[in-house]
């Protein structure tokens, strides 16, 4: 199966995960149009 990036979409969840896993967040602001 083809690999695909699994994005989080909520800051609170990303912050919680980053804290638990001691990682930085890669935040991509994209154009929705």
């Amino acid at each position: 199966m083809e690999k695909k990036l699994q994005w989080l979409t909520e800051m609170s969840k990303a912050a919680e995960t980053a804290k638990a896993e001691n990682k930085f967040i890669f935040l991509d602001f994209f154009n929705p149009n």
Binding site: K3, L5, A14, F26, L27, D28
Partner: protein
């Protein structure tokens, strides 16, 4: 980014293994909190939301990993974790020496080496290395005073 960079396996592995990927539309209220006015805007932030690095505009896959590694290095540097910062900058120098992030990584490796040891020699070496590998870079000009250190 969606058609060229993000589908690449090396990009997926890099983000998945070392970071927490978060994707937010630029019309979301979070975007105005980070003063985002153009996309793509790619940020390295910590769990408190503090920003350490930003790239605005498209990055091809061969520039993406070193550009974001540079951001992780800067994040460690700004948290006074200089040996971890040095590790990231040296990874760019070793694995991505031809990337557009390489010159800044050499500069930052010199500064991190100095902050980590209080020895000015890493600064001088960073200038010498920059002068040899990236003679026309702005980072070589910024490191120019370090040639006088001994």
């Amino acid at each position: 980014m969606d058609t060229v960079t993000y589908p690449q396996e090396k990009v997926i592995d890099f983000i998945t293994d070392g970071m927490v990927p978060l994707r937010v539309a630029a019309d979301h209220p979070l975007a105005s909190g980070y003063d985002v006015t153009w996309t793509p805007a790619l940020l390295v932030i910590d769990s408190e939301g503090k920003e350490y690095h930003r790239v605005v505009g498209f990055l091809p896959d061969d520039e993406f990993v070193p550009a974001i590694l540079l951001g992780i290095g800067k994040a460690f540097f700004n948290k006074n974790e200089f040996s971890k910062a040095l590790e990231k900058f040296e990874e760019i120098m070793t694995s991505y020496p031809a990337s557009d992030s390489a010159a800044e990584a050499i500069f930052m490796a010199g500064v991190s080496g100095y902050k980590n040891s209080n020895d000015p020699m890493p600064l001088k070496k960073s200038y010498e290395y920059l002068a040899e590998k990236h003679p026309d870079s702005l980072w070589t000009k910024r490191a120019y005073p370090y040639r006088l250190l001994d």
